[in-house]
Protein backbone atom coordinates (compact mmCIF):
# COMPACT_ATOMS: atom_id res chain seq x y z
CA UNK A 1 0.00 0.00 0.00
CA UNK A 2 1.22 3.50 -0.82
CA UNK A 3 0.20 7.03 0.19
CA UNK A 4 -0.76 9.67 -2.39
CA UNK A 5 -1.29 13.36 -1.72
CA UNK A 6 -3.34 15.23 -4.34
CA UNK A 7 -2.89 18.99 -4.66
CA UNK A 8 -5.41 20.83 -6.86
CA UNK A 9 -6.92 24.29 -7.21
CA UNK A 10 -10.61 24.28 -6.26
CA UNK A 11 -11.95 24.38 -9.81
CA UNK A 12 -14.36 21.71 -11.00
CA UNK A 13 -12.49 20.84 -14.19
CA UNK A 14 -9.28 20.34 -12.21
CA UNK A 15 -10.70 18.56 -9.18
CA UNK A 16 -13.00 16.05 -10.91
CA UNK A 17 -10.24 14.46 -13.01
CA UNK A 18 -7.92 14.21 -10.01
CA UNK A 19 -10.79 12.84 -7.90
CA UNK A 20 -11.45 10.03 -10.37
CA UNK A 21 -7.79 9.00 -10.16
CA UNK A 22 -7.80 9.33 -6.36
CA UNK A 23 -10.90 7.08 -6.17
CA UNK A 24 -9.23 4.46 -8.36
CA UNK A 25 -6.22 4.45 -6.03
CA UNK A 26 -8.39 4.26 -2.91
CA UNK A 27 -10.29 1.30 -4.39
CA UNK A 28 -6.97 -0.52 -4.78
CA UNK A 29 -6.33 -0.08 -1.06
CA UNK A 30 -4.00 2.92 -1.17
CA UNK A 31 -4.24 5.83 1.21
CA UNK A 32 -5.22 9.12 -0.41
CA UNK A 33 -5.39 12.66 0.96
CA UNK A 34 -5.85 16.13 -0.50
CA UNK A 35 -4.22 19.50 0.11
CA UNK A 36 -6.31 22.50 -0.91
CA UNK A 37 -9.04 24.89 0.22
CA UNK A 38 -11.12 22.60 2.42
CA UNK A 39 -14.63 24.00 2.01
CA UNK A 40 -14.37 24.21 -1.80
CA UNK A 41 -12.84 20.74 -2.09
CA UNK A 42 -15.47 19.23 0.20
CA UNK A 43 -18.26 20.65 -1.95
CA UNK A 44 -16.89 18.57 -4.82
CA UNK A 45 -15.40 15.59 -2.98
CA UNK A 46 -17.80 15.10 -0.07
CA UNK A 47 -16.97 14.48 3.57
CA UNK A 48 -15.39 11.05 3.12
CA UNK A 49 -11.94 12.28 2.09
CA UNK A 50 -8.99 13.55 4.12
CA UNK A 51 -8.23 17.21 3.38
CA UNK A 52 -5.26 19.21 4.64
CA UNK A 53 -6.66 22.69 4.33
CA UNK A 54 -4.55 25.40 2.73
CA UNK A 55 -7.00 28.30 2.65
CA UNK A 56 -7.91 30.08 -0.56
CA UNK A 57 -7.00 33.17 -2.52
CA UNK A 58 -9.65 34.80 -4.66
CA UNK A 59 -8.85 34.95 -8.37
CA UNK A 60 -9.22 38.51 -9.54
CA UNK A 61 -9.63 39.14 -13.22
CA UNK A 62 -12.08 36.39 -14.04
CA UNK A 63 -13.73 38.65 -16.58
CA UNK A 64 -10.51 39.07 -18.56
CA UNK A 65 -10.06 37.40 -21.89
CA UNK A 66 -7.22 36.91 -24.36
CA UNK A 67 -3.71 37.98 -23.37
CA UNK A 68 -5.06 40.03 -20.50
CA UNK A 69 -6.40 36.76 -19.07
CA UNK A 70 -2.95 35.17 -19.41
CA UNK A 71 -1.56 37.99 -17.27
CA UNK A 72 -4.32 37.85 -14.68
CA UNK A 73 -4.26 34.04 -14.48
CA UNK A 74 -0.59 34.08 -13.50
CA UNK A 75 -0.29 37.39 -11.62
CA UNK A 76 -3.75 37.20 -10.10
CA UNK A 77 -4.08 33.53 -9.32
CA UNK A 78 -1.47 30.84 -10.01
CA UNK A 79 1.55 32.60 -8.48
CA UNK A 80 -0.09 34.21 -5.41
CA UNK A 81 -2.11 31.03 -4.81
CA UNK A 82 1.08 28.95 -4.86
CA UNK A 83 2.90 31.28 -2.49
CA UNK A 84 -0.06 31.54 -0.13
CA UNK A 85 -0.70 27.79 0.07
CA UNK A 86 2.93 26.62 0.10
CA UNK A 87 3.43 26.59 3.92
CA UNK A 88 0.22 24.57 4.41
CA UNK A 89 1.08 22.17 1.58
CA UNK A 90 4.53 21.65 3.09
CA UNK A 91 2.91 20.84 6.45
CA UNK A 92 0.60 18.38 4.69
CA UNK A 93 3.56 16.66 3.04
CA UNK A 94 5.35 16.45 6.41
CA UNK A 95 2.27 15.16 8.26
CA UNK A 96 0.94 12.70 5.67
CA UNK A 97 4.38 11.56 4.44
CA UNK A 98 3.12 10.53 0.99
CA UNK A 99 5.07 8.29 -1.35
CA UNK A 100 3.92 10.45 -4.25
CA UNK A 101 2.51 13.97 -4.53
CA UNK A 102 0.17 14.33 -7.51
CA UNK A 103 -0.10 18.03 -8.18
CA UNK A 104 -2.09 20.04 -10.69
CA UNK A 105 -0.03 22.12 -13.14
CA UNK A 106 -1.73 25.20 -11.70
CA UNK A 107 -1.11 24.20 -8.07
CA UNK A 108 2.63 24.83 -8.10
CA UNK A 109 2.91 24.57 -4.30
CA UNK A 110 2.50 20.80 -4.56
CA UNK A 111 5.57 20.48 -6.78
CA UNK A 112 7.67 22.82 -4.65
CA UNK A 113 6.68 21.14 -1.38
CA UNK A 114 7.35 17.67 -2.76
CA UNK A 115 10.74 18.76 -4.08
CA UNK A 116 11.72 20.36 -0.76
CA UNK A 117 10.75 17.22 1.16
CA UNK A 118 12.42 14.83 -1.27
CA UNK A 119 9.12 13.22 -2.29
CA UNK A 120 8.49 12.03 -5.86
CA UNK A 121 5.83 14.00 -7.62
CA UNK A 122 3.66 13.80 -10.68
CA UNK A 123 2.10 16.64 -12.66
CA UNK A 124 -1.61 16.48 -13.47
CA UNK A 125 -2.64 18.28 -16.67
CA UNK A 126 -6.45 18.56 -16.68
CA UNK A 127 -6.37 21.41 -19.21
CA UNK A 128 -4.58 22.08 -22.47
CA UNK A 129 -2.57 25.17 -21.67
CA UNK A 130 0.59 23.74 -20.16
CA UNK A 131 0.74 20.55 -22.21
CA UNK A 132 1.26 21.35 -25.87
CA UNK A 133 3.10 24.68 -25.42
CA UNK A 134 0.52 26.82 -27.22
CA UNK A 135 2.74 29.88 -26.69
CA UNK A 136 5.71 28.36 -28.50
CA UNK A 137 5.08 30.91 -31.27
CA UNK A 138 5.22 33.71 -28.67
CA UNK A 139 8.59 33.18 -26.97
CA UNK A 140 8.36 36.36 -24.91
CA UNK A 141 5.09 35.15 -23.37
CA UNK A 142 6.61 31.78 -22.48
CA UNK A 143 9.61 33.59 -21.01
CA UNK A 144 7.33 35.91 -18.99
CA UNK A 145 5.61 32.92 -17.36
CA UNK A 146 8.95 31.26 -16.55
CA UNK A 147 10.30 34.51 -15.12
CA UNK A 148 7.17 34.91 -12.98
CA UNK A 149 7.66 31.42 -11.55
CA UNK A 150 11.35 32.09 -10.88
CA UNK A 151 10.73 35.50 -9.32
CA UNK A 152 8.07 34.03 -7.05
CA UNK A 153 10.68 31.60 -5.72
CA UNK A 154 8.75 28.64 -7.11
CA UNK A 155 11.25 27.12 -9.49
CA UNK A 156 12.73 23.90 -8.19
CA UNK A 157 16.44 23.56 -8.66
CA UNK A 158 16.07 25.68 -11.78
CA UNK A 159 13.35 23.36 -13.15
CA UNK A 160 9.77 24.24 -14.05
CA UNK A 161 7.25 23.16 -11.36
CA UNK A 162 4.56 22.64 -14.04
CA UNK A 163 6.41 19.67 -15.48
CA UNK A 164 7.41 16.79 -13.25
CA UNK A 165 10.60 15.07 -14.39
CA UNK A 166 9.04 11.78 -13.15
CA UNK A 167 5.51 11.67 -14.58
CA UNK A 168 3.13 14.04 -16.37
CA UNK A 169 -0.44 12.71 -16.50
CA UNK A 170 -2.60 14.38 -19.14
CA UNK A 171 -6.33 13.77 -19.37
CA UNK A 172 -6.51 13.79 -23.15
CA UNK A 173 -5.18 11.66 -26.00
CA UNK A 174 -3.23 12.21 -29.23
CA UNK A 175 -6.51 11.91 -31.18
CA UNK A 176 -7.31 15.30 -29.64
CA UNK A 177 -3.90 16.95 -29.08
CA UNK A 178 -2.66 16.00 -32.53
CA UNK A 179 0.87 14.69 -32.99
CA UNK A 180 3.38 16.08 -30.50
CA UNK A 181 6.76 14.80 -29.44
CA UNK A 182 5.79 14.18 -25.85
CA UNK A 183 8.68 12.98 -23.67
CA UNK A 184 8.61 9.34 -22.52
CA UNK A 185 7.48 10.24 -18.99
CA UNK A 186 4.29 11.86 -20.32
CA UNK A 187 1.22 9.61 -20.10
CA UNK A 188 -1.85 10.69 -22.05
CA UNK A 189 -4.51 8.62 -20.31
CA UNK A 190 -7.66 10.19 -21.75
CA UNK A 191 -10.39 11.69 -19.59
CA UNK A 192 -10.66 10.45 -16.01
CA UNK A 193 -14.38 10.21 -15.45
CA UNK A 194 -15.28 9.03 -11.98
CA UNK A 195 -18.48 8.70 -10.02
CA UNK A 196 -19.66 12.03 -8.65
CA UNK A 197 -22.81 13.34 -7.06
CA UNK A 198 -25.43 13.91 -9.76
CA UNK A 199 -27.84 16.80 -9.21
CA UNK A 200 -31.57 16.17 -9.61
CA UNK A 201 -32.85 16.41 -13.15
CA UNK A 202 -36.37 16.45 -14.65
CA UNK A 203 -35.85 13.45 -16.92
CA UNK A 204 -39.55 13.42 -17.88
CA UNK A 205 -39.11 16.85 -19.44
CA UNK A 206 -36.93 15.43 -22.25
CA UNK A 207 -38.93 15.15 -25.45
CA UNK A 208 -38.11 11.87 -27.26
CA UNK A 209 -39.33 13.34 -30.55
CA UNK A 210 -36.61 15.99 -30.55
CA UNK A 211 -32.84 15.79 -30.37
CA UNK A 212 -31.30 16.92 -27.11
CA UNK A 213 -28.48 19.47 -27.05
CA UNK A 214 -26.60 20.47 -23.90
CA UNK A 215 -25.44 24.08 -23.61
CA UNK A 216 -22.86 24.58 -20.84
CA UNK A 217 -20.41 27.48 -20.67
CA UNK A 218 -18.42 26.46 -17.60
CA UNK A 219 -18.40 27.36 -13.95
CA UNK A 220 -16.32 30.51 -14.38
CA UNK A 221 -18.34 31.95 -17.22
CA UNK A 222 -21.57 33.01 -15.58
CA UNK A 223 -20.65 36.68 -15.60
CA UNK A 224 -19.24 36.90 -19.09
CA UNK A 225 -21.79 34.60 -20.71
CA UNK A 226 -24.72 36.95 -20.06
CA UNK A 227 -24.27 38.38 -23.51
CA UNK A 228 -23.87 34.93 -25.11
CA UNK A 229 -27.07 33.28 -23.87
CA UNK A 230 -29.50 35.62 -25.66
CA UNK A 231 -27.78 34.85 -28.98
CA UNK A 232 -27.84 31.13 -28.19
CA UNK A 233 -31.52 31.38 -27.27
CA UNK A 234 -32.13 32.93 -30.70
CA UNK A 235 -30.45 29.92 -32.31
CA UNK A 236 -32.43 27.46 -30.17
CA UNK A 237 -35.66 29.20 -31.09
CA UNK A 238 -34.87 28.78 -34.79
CA UNK A 239 -34.20 25.06 -34.24
CA UNK A 240 -36.99 24.35 -31.75
CA UNK A 241 -38.96 22.06 -34.05
CA UNK A 242 -36.18 19.47 -33.97
CA UNK A 243 -33.97 20.41 -31.05
CA UNK A 244 -34.60 20.59 -27.32
CA UNK A 245 -31.90 22.24 -25.23
CA UNK A 246 -30.71 21.62 -21.71
CA UNK A 247 -28.89 24.76 -20.55
CA UNK A 248 -26.61 24.57 -17.51
CA UNK A 249 -26.99 28.12 -16.21
CA UNK A 250 -28.82 30.11 -13.56
CA UNK A 251 -32.37 30.53 -14.97
CA UNK A 252 -32.11 34.33 -14.81
CA UNK A 253 -29.15 34.28 -17.19
CA UNK A 254 -31.11 32.68 -20.02
CA UNK A 255 -33.86 35.06 -21.08
CA UNK A 256 -37.02 33.72 -22.70
CA UNK A 257 -35.85 30.30 -23.95
CA UNK A 258 -38.16 28.38 -26.30
CA UNK A 259 -40.80 26.17 -24.63
CA UNK A 260 -39.46 22.91 -23.24
CA UNK A 261 -35.92 24.20 -22.69
CA UNK A 262 -34.55 22.88 -19.40
CA UNK A 263 -32.50 25.54 -17.61
CA UNK A 264 -30.78 24.58 -14.36
CA UNK A 265 -27.62 25.80 -12.64
CA UNK A 266 -26.37 22.21 -12.19
CA UNK A 267 -27.16 19.30 -14.48
CA UNK A 268 -25.94 15.65 -14.34
CA UNK A 269 -23.64 15.98 -17.34
CA UNK A 270 -22.35 12.40 -17.40
CA UNK A 271 -25.84 10.91 -17.02
CA UNK A 272 -27.11 13.17 -19.79
CA UNK A 273 -24.34 12.35 -22.27
CA UNK A 274 -25.80 9.09 -23.66
CA UNK A 275 -28.99 11.00 -24.56
CA UNK A 276 -27.29 13.96 -26.24
CA UNK A 277 -26.99 14.64 -29.96
CA UNK A 278 -24.59 17.58 -29.51
CA UNK A 279 -22.93 19.73 -26.87
CA UNK A 280 -22.38 23.48 -27.16
CA UNK A 281 -19.74 24.62 -24.69
CA UNK A 282 -16.83 26.93 -23.89
CA UNK A 283 -14.24 24.30 -24.90
CA UNK A 284 -13.10 23.62 -21.35
CA UNK A 285 -11.10 20.41 -21.71
CA UNK A 286 -13.20 18.64 -19.09
CA UNK A 287 -16.52 19.22 -20.87
CA UNK A 288 -15.01 18.57 -24.29
CA UNK A 289 -13.57 15.25 -23.15
CA UNK A 290 -16.80 14.22 -21.44
CA UNK A 291 -18.65 14.81 -24.71
CA UNK A 292 -16.06 13.09 -26.89
CA UNK A 293 -15.81 10.14 -24.49
CA UNK A 294 -19.44 9.57 -25.44
CA UNK A 295 -18.92 10.28 -29.14
CA UNK A 296 -21.00 13.47 -28.95
CA UNK A 297 -19.98 16.20 -31.46
CA UNK A 298 -19.44 19.77 -30.33
CA UNK A 299 -20.01 23.43 -31.05
CA UNK A 300 -17.21 25.21 -29.21
CA UNK A 301 -17.21 28.89 -28.24
CA UNK A 302 -13.92 29.34 -26.35
CA UNK A 303 -13.78 32.19 -23.85
CA UNK A 304 -10.19 32.29 -22.55
CA UNK A 305 -7.14 30.50 -21.16
CA UNK A 306 -6.64 27.08 -22.75
CA UNK A 307 -10.10 27.03 -24.34
CA UNK A 308 -9.05 28.41 -27.75
CA UNK A 309 -6.33 25.73 -27.79
CA UNK A 310 -8.82 22.98 -27.02
CA UNK A 311 -11.31 24.41 -29.51
CA UNK A 312 -8.69 24.30 -32.25
CA UNK A 313 -7.99 20.66 -31.32
CA UNK A 314 -11.69 19.79 -31.60
CA UNK A 315 -11.83 21.40 -35.04
CA UNK A 316 -8.62 19.68 -36.17
CA UNK A 317 -10.03 16.33 -35.02
CA UNK A 318 -13.14 17.02 -37.11
CA UNK A 319 -15.36 16.53 -34.06
CA UNK A 320 -16.95 19.97 -33.95
CA UNK A 321 -17.29 23.53 -35.17
CA UNK A 322 -15.80 26.58 -33.56
CA UNK A 323 -17.89 29.72 -33.17
CA UNK A 324 -17.06 33.07 -31.62
CA UNK A 325 -18.20 33.42 -28.03
CA UNK A 326 -18.26 37.20 -28.12
CA UNK A 327 -19.71 37.74 -31.56
CA UNK A 328 -21.43 34.84 -33.32
CA UNK A 329 -25.08 35.72 -33.82
CA UNK A 330 -28.14 33.43 -33.64
CA UNK A 331 -27.85 32.51 -37.33
CA UNK A 332 -24.20 31.47 -37.08
CA UNK A 333 -24.88 29.48 -33.89
CA UNK A 334 -27.92 27.77 -35.42
CA UNK A 335 -25.96 26.89 -38.57
CA UNK A 336 -23.14 25.40 -36.47
CA UNK A 337 -25.56 23.33 -34.38
CA UNK A 338 -27.40 22.15 -37.49
CA UNK A 339 -24.14 21.08 -39.10
CA UNK A 340 -22.88 18.99 -36.17
CA UNK A 341 -26.34 17.48 -35.73
CA UNK A 342 -27.00 16.65 -39.38
CA UNK A 343 -23.64 16.09 -41.06
CA UNK A 344 -22.49 12.61 -40.00
CA UNK A 345 -18.78 13.43 -40.28
CA UNK A 346 -18.75 15.28 -36.95
CA UNK A 347 -20.27 12.43 -34.95
CA UNK A 348 -18.02 9.95 -36.78
CA UNK A 349 -14.93 11.98 -35.82
CA UNK A 350 -16.20 12.24 -32.24
CA UNK A 351 -16.54 8.46 -32.29
CA UNK A 352 -12.90 8.09 -33.36
CA UNK A 353 -11.80 10.25 -30.43
CA UNK A 354 -14.02 8.16 -28.14
CA UNK A 355 -12.19 5.02 -29.21
CA UNK A 356 -8.80 6.60 -28.59
CA UNK A 357 -9.96 7.72 -25.13
CA UNK A 358 -11.16 4.23 -24.31
CA UNK A 359 -7.81 2.80 -25.40
CA UNK A 360 -5.94 5.39 -23.29
CA UNK A 361 -7.34 3.85 -20.14
CA UNK A 362 -8.66 6.82 -18.13
CA UNK A 363 -8.52 6.94 -14.33
CA UNK A 364 -7.42 3.29 -13.85
CA UNK A 365 -4.48 3.83 -16.21
CA UNK A 366 -3.55 7.05 -14.40
CA UNK A 367 -3.72 5.20 -11.08
CA UNK A 368 -1.40 2.50 -12.43
CA UNK A 369 1.15 5.10 -13.53
CA UNK A 370 1.09 6.64 -10.04
CA UNK A 371 1.45 3.21 -8.42
CA UNK A 372 4.48 2.49 -10.60
CA UNK A 373 5.98 5.84 -9.60
CA UNK A 374 5.44 5.00 -5.92
CA UNK A 375 7.01 1.56 -6.33
CA UNK A 376 10.10 2.70 -8.17
CA UNK A 377 13.23 1.83 -6.20
Amino acid sequence: MSCFLFVAPPLAGHVYAAAAVASALAERGHEVAWAGPESSLRRMLGDGVTVYSTGMRPYRGQRDRGFRAVRSLWEGFVLPYARFTLPAVEKAVAAFAPDVVATDQHALAGAVAAHRHGVRWASLAPQSMELTRPFRALPKVEAWIRRGIDNAGLSIGGADPRFSPHLVLAFTSPALTGPHDFPAHYALVGPALGPRAAPDFPWDALDPARRTVLVTMGTLAEDVARDFYPRMVGALRALRAHVQAVVAAPPGAVPDPPPGTVVAPQVPVLELMPRLAAVACHAGLNTVCEALAHGVPLVVAPIKHDQPVTAAQVVAAGAGIRVRFGRSGPDELAAALTAVLDEPGYAAAAGRVRKSFAAAGGAPAAASHLEQLANRP
Binding site: R65, G66, F67, R68, V70, R71, A137, L138, P139, K140, V141, W144, P302, P308, R322, R324, F325, G326, R327
Partner: protein
Protein backbone atom coordinates in the same frame (compact mmCIF):
# COMPACT_ATOMS: atom_id res chain seq x y z
CA UNK B 1 -7.57 54.49 -49.85
CA UNK B 2 -5.72 55.30 -46.66
CA UNK B 3 -4.26 52.50 -44.59
CA UNK B 4 -6.56 52.94 -41.62
CA UNK B 5 -9.68 52.71 -43.77
CA UNK B 6 -8.37 49.66 -45.53
CA UNK B 7 -7.42 47.98 -42.25
CA UNK B 8 -10.84 48.78 -40.84
CA UNK B 9 -12.41 47.14 -43.87
CA UNK B 10 -10.41 43.98 -43.25
CA UNK B 11 -11.39 44.06 -39.57
CA UNK B 12 -15.03 44.26 -40.61
CA UNK B 13 -14.56 41.29 -42.89
CA UNK B 14 -12.98 39.07 -40.23
CA UNK B 15 -15.47 40.07 -37.53
CA UNK B 16 -18.63 40.36 -39.61
CA UNK B 17 -19.41 43.62 -37.82
CA UNK B 18 -21.40 46.52 -39.34
CA UNK B 19 -20.48 50.01 -40.50
CA UNK B 20 -21.36 51.63 -37.21
CA UNK B 21 -18.84 49.37 -35.49
CA UNK B 22 -16.24 50.18 -38.14
CA UNK B 23 -16.84 53.91 -37.75
CA UNK B 24 -15.67 53.69 -34.14
CA UNK B 25 -12.32 52.11 -35.07
CA UNK B 26 -9.38 54.50 -34.57
CA UNK B 27 -5.60 54.06 -34.56
CA UNK B 28 -5.84 53.90 -30.77
CA UNK B 29 -8.37 51.02 -30.79
CA UNK B 30 -6.87 48.01 -29.04
CA UNK B 31 -7.53 44.70 -30.81
CA UNK B 32 -8.23 42.92 -27.54
CA UNK B 33 -9.90 45.29 -25.08
CA UNK B 34 -11.69 47.58 -27.53
CA UNK B 35 -12.41 45.49 -30.64
CA UNK B 36 -12.68 42.21 -28.67
CA UNK B 37 -10.99 40.22 -31.42
CA UNK B 38 -10.96 36.49 -30.76
CA UNK B 39 -7.99 34.31 -31.65
CA UNK B 40 -9.66 32.89 -34.78
CA UNK B 41 -10.32 36.45 -35.93
CA UNK B 42 -6.68 37.41 -35.35
CA UNK B 43 -5.66 34.38 -37.41
CA UNK B 44 -8.02 35.42 -40.21
CA UNK B 45 -6.69 38.97 -40.00
CA UNK B 46 -3.16 37.59 -40.37
CA UNK B 47 -4.17 35.85 -43.58
CA UNK B 48 -5.77 39.03 -44.88
CA UNK B 49 -2.68 41.14 -44.09
CA UNK B 50 -0.45 38.63 -45.83
CA UNK B 51 -2.68 38.62 -48.92
CA UNK B 52 -2.94 42.42 -49.10
CA UNK B 53 0.50 43.63 -47.97
CA UNK B 54 2.62 40.49 -47.79
CA UNK B 55 3.37 41.07 -44.10
CA UNK B 56 3.84 38.25 -41.60
CA UNK B 57 1.59 38.99 -38.61
CA UNK B 58 2.55 35.85 -36.61
CA UNK B 59 6.25 36.74 -36.96
CA UNK B 60 5.49 40.29 -35.78
CA UNK B 61 3.49 39.01 -32.79
CA UNK B 62 6.33 36.60 -31.93
CA UNK B 63 8.53 39.63 -31.22
CA UNK B 64 6.10 41.21 -28.76
CA UNK B 65 5.99 40.75 -25.02
CA UNK B 66 2.80 40.14 -23.05
CA UNK B 67 2.08 43.83 -22.30
CA UNK B 68 2.60 44.75 -25.95
CA UNK B 69 0.24 41.97 -27.04
CA UNK B 70 -2.42 43.16 -24.59
CA UNK B 71 -2.08 46.76 -25.78
CA UNK B 72 -1.73 46.05 -29.52
CA UNK B 73 -3.61 48.72 -31.50
CA UNK B 74 -4.89 49.24 -35.01
CA UNK B 75 -2.22 51.94 -35.29
CA UNK B 76 0.46 49.32 -34.59
CA UNK B 77 -0.91 47.25 -37.48
CA UNK B 78 -0.95 50.33 -39.73
CA UNK B 79 2.73 50.90 -38.94
CA UNK B 80 3.45 47.23 -39.63
CA UNK B 81 1.84 47.21 -43.07
CA UNK B 82 3.36 50.54 -44.14
CA UNK B 83 6.85 49.79 -42.80
Amino acid sequence: MDTLRELTGLLREVTGEDERWAAAVTPESRLEDDLRLESVEVAALGEALRARWGVDLPAYLAGLDLDQLIDLTVGDLARLVTA
